[in-house]
């Protein structure tokens, strides 16, 4: 099947071309068939590759043609099919296909339907290029391409709004990241004479550990990853990107594009293993991001914002995995996260759809009656992300926690705390949306309805995977061998730093116990607070007796929860979101933008329009140049 | 320095070497001076008030004498400059007329032909029509 692997990215590209040229003449049905069909076809090919890779590990390079020949450097347009890229392709095309199907229902009223599918296909194409590229340059093409599509798709509904500072922020942050990436590429050209994986990695192995050049390259690459994968300090664009249609948030800002940074670091694991310093940086930054974003998520009221911050937090987990050299755990979490986060986003989309566009969870509540399928699948997603066994998130998060335990106790403890917070904000979200009383307008209540099949079927499929996806990476204690670890081992096998910690049985049991001992009470507390209590406390006399029926004891816990946990955490979250996020990060980014604009406004004043001044500038320039050149020759 | 040798050679130059330049200066100044003096002396002098006016014949002069020229003057002058300067290419040809032979004649013919084409264009487009 590797012979036709080049078809995998080509098919979505064809879909883009047909839908792009056909819009708006092509009718919606045809556009949907083309859009979904092309991705499905790619997915089929990927599946066959996957089956093949199960028998014998793949490591196949497809040289399509010589792309660039600049002097000594040549870059061939080559695709790399190995187990790592296959698993990423599975995620991209598989989850991508489901989201395409979902979009049929979600976007059916939109006049830009065909255009939307064209953009989605283009995105899939670039994403596939990103994960299939056999060199950093090709990866960069995909990297820029997905950024462009993300930009187009965020702006999809912005027709009449002024182009806001938020978009500029997203833009500048991604530019900073890309700057790091492309500089790293040029450094690789300068050091290794190539950016092909099969040239760079063997050449890098010759360097000593903590060689400053490798550290520089890896750090620059990581800067790229920070921008794309929304890590501290370049993460604030991701919540802003939620302005796009929900399928876009699910596909780009949860399942695929934002994990590109993780993929990139995992792909260059050999480089990183030579640079433990960078790995330490990644671990620390990942931990802080995970904790930080989780704290902010606790107090958000926009359903998509909560999920966005949660994504940032989960990405932090993945980077911790990478930083602690358990690359397979990182990729495993990418996979499970793709399942449950896509599921959650799509569920959120279904809710928003049912609520006629309402996104504030304080105006929702009690939706589980009206939206049974959505509610049930959302619950599975919530259980998965909270790390409740046996759902997918538990196993992948467990692998990361184990790895961090062997790395540093502080990191481990912070991640444990983050896990608790994750459960807290996710169940808060779940209960506030689906339980309790409906708090929206009468009009919204009348229009509550379960979404059509094209929306619910993807939800069910994803829920299935979110439930069982974890068994791909069963930890040792459950007797099964860790499938994903072995599957990915050809890619990470050259990496000598990966520690085998098979003797972690105790840790594994501890984690299972912990999940049940800590997270379940948190769930219960959230249930108390958000499902049973009326959220926006509109205390009416009829309700009071109901509350008094709840025991005094429970009330006490609730208070404790309130004053002991919720209030301080809210305060902390507020501090972070106002002082750090808004003031420091956004301030710096916007500041960079405004400094440049200020420079621009000043520089244009030089252009006085006066020829005399222009001529004077020329003469001054000439004199300067002459002086410098002659001084260099020691004429004076 | 490439001019080193010349500089040392310059030591035995004398003022006499500048004689051609001096002579040229004398000629230039002398020509201007002579013409001015000569016209002054030779012209008949009848300095009545009416004679000093810009126009005679009883029409009173109005406004500034520095009126802009009609653009036609300008156009003609510009065209003159263009065609006039091209003559410099004839000079080296004339000097080497025999050595260049027929090839020279053909080349210059082509050159003049192109100029002539330009001239035809000018005439045809009406640039030289006075009205």
């Amino acid at each position: 099947m590797t012979a036709v692997a080049w078809l995998i990215p080509l098919l979505p590209l064809l879909g883009f071309i047909i839908n792009g040229l056909g819009f708006p003449k092509l009718n919606k049905k045809v556009a949907a068939i083309i859009g979904c069909g092309s991705v499905l076809a790619s997915f089929a090919i990927v599946c066959s590759l996957f089956l093949q890779s199960l028998q014998t590990p793949l490591n196949h390079r497809i040289d399509l043609y010589t792309w660039i020949a600049a002097g000594n450097y040549t870059v061939s347009f080559a695709l790399l099919i190995d187990n790592l890229s296959v698993i990423m392709m599975m995620i991209v095309t598989g989850v991508g296909f489901l989201i395409h199907v979902y979009s049929i229902g979600y976007m059916k009223e939109d006049e830009g339907f065909g255009k939307f599918f064209a953009y989605l296909n283009l995105f899939i194409f670039f994403m596939l290029l990103l994960v299939m590229g056999a060199s950093f340059v090709i990866m960069f093409i995909g990297w820029e391409g997905v950024g462009l599509c993300s930009y187009l798709l965020i702006g999809f509904w912005w027709k009449n709004r002024e182009y806001s500072a938020a978009a500029n922020k997203a833009f500048i942050m991604n530019r900073i990241g890309d700057l790091g990436f492309i500089l790293a590429i040029f450094m690789m050209f300068a050091v290794f004479g190539s950016s092909d994986f099969d040239k760079v990695f063997p050449a890098a192995s010759a360097f000593t550990t903590n060689d400053s050049i490798i550290i520089a390259i890896t750090l620059l690459l990581f800067v790229g990853a920070i921008g794309k994968s929304a890590q501290l300090p370049l993460f604030t664009w991701l919540p802003d990107a939620m302005a796009g249609p929900t399928p876009v948030s699910a596909l780009i800002h949860a399942a695929t594009m934002v994990t590109a940074g993780v993929y990139m670091v995992a792909r260059s694991n050999i480089l990183y293993s030579i640079a433990p310093v960078t790995l330490a940086v990644i671990t620390v930054l990942g931990t802080i991001t995970a904790l930080f974003a989780a704290l902010i998520a606790l107090t958000q009221n926009d359903i998509k914002k909560v999920l966005a911050y949660s994504t940032v937090s989960q990405l932090g987990f993945m980077f911790v995995a990478l930083g602690t050299s358990s690359f397979d755990a990182g990729i495993f979490h990418v996979m499970t996260h793709a399942f449950f986060k896509a599921l959650l986003f799509l569920g959120a989309g279904s809710v928003i759809h049912a609520m006629s566009g309402e996104q504030n969870i304080r105006h929702m509540g009690g939706l589980k009656k009206a939206l049974p399928i959505t509610s049930f699948t959302f619950l599975i997603g919530t259980l998965a992300i909270s790390g409740i066994p046996p759902f997918a998130g538990f196993f992948s998060k467990d692998a990361i926690l184990t790895a961090s335990y062997f790395n540093s106790t502080i990191i481990f403890l912070l991640l444990i705390l983050t896990s608790v917070l994750t459960a807290a904000y996710m169940f808060r979200l779940y209960f506030m949306v689906f339980w309790g009383d409906f708090r929206g307008t009468h009009h919204q209540e009348e229009h509550l309805h379960e979404s059509p099949q094209s929306i619910t079927i993807p939800l069910i499929v994803l829920a299935l995977f979110a439930a069982i996806g974890g068994f791909f990476g069963l930890p040792e204690i459950f007797g099964n061998h860790n499938w994903i670890h072995h599957y990915l081992s050809p890619v990470f096998s050259q990496n000598t730093r990966i520690m085998a910690h098979a003797d972690s049985v105790m840790i594994e049991w501890l984690l299972v116990a912990f999940s049940l001992v800590v997270i379940v009470p948190v769930m219960w507390l959230a249930y108390q607070r958000y499902a049973l209590k009326t959220v926006k406390v509109t205390l009416s006399e009829e309700q009071l007796p109901f509350w008094y029926k709840l025991s005094l004891h429970k009330f006490y816990v609730d208070e404790l929860y309130d004053y002991g946990i919720v209030k301080p955490l809210s305060a902390l979250a507020g501090l972070f979101s106002v002082a750090v996020e808004k003031k420091m990060i956004d301030g710096t980014v916007n500041g960079l933008g405004s400094i440049t604009l200020f420079l621009s406004s000043q520089l244009r004043k030089i252009q006085t329009g006066n020829t005399g001044f222009y001529v004077f500038a020329m003469v001054a320039g000439m004199v300067l140049m002459l002086l410098f050149a002659l001084a260099k020759l020691n004429v004076f | 320095m490439i001019f080193m040798e010349v500089s040392s050679a310059a030591a035995n130059t004398t003022v006499a070497n500048y004689l051609p330049i001096v002579i040229q200066f004398i000629f230039a100044a002398g020509f201007v001076g002579t013409t001015m003096v000569a016209t002054h002396l030779l012209g008949p002098k009848l300095q009545t008030k009416k004679k000093l006016q810009a126009f005679e014949s009883g029409i009173k002069s109005v406004g500034n004498a520095r009126q802009p020229f009609a653009v036609k003057y300008f156009l003609t002058a510009i065209l003159f400059v263009l065609f006039d300067v091209e003559v410099i290419f004839l000079y080296p040809w004339a000097v080497n007329f025999m050595e260049l032979g027929w090839q020279g004649v053909i080349t210059m013919g082509l050159f003049m032909g192109l100029l002539l084409a330009g001239f035809v264009y000018i005439v045809k487009s009406g640039a030289l029509d006075w009205e």
Binding site: R604, K605, V619 | A10, P20, V71, I78, L82, I88, P92
Partner: protein, 107 residues
Amino acid sequence: MIPQIFQTVPIEHFVYLSAVLFVIGVVGVLTRSNAIIIFMSVELMLNAVNLLLVSFSSYHQDPAGQIFVFFIMAVAAAEVAVGLAIITMIYRNTHSVDINDMSRLKG
């Protein structure tokens, strides 16, 4: 073809003279605001170059420099023709040839 006697004049003197003329031209461009006078200053710069070229031509005993001068003169004439035409056009529209009035385009 070049009088021998000129070759005994040190080449530096020619260089200095034309450099001075060139600088006068540059200063003229810098300081004057009348478009025509600026144009004349540019012509002065070109003629300084012409002088430099013929003196080098004489120094190197190489006629190429003089040929170059012919071309400069011809091109300068063409430039004058175009330049004066443009200045005339502007004068017709604005009744001014002051370049300080010409700053509508800026920023």
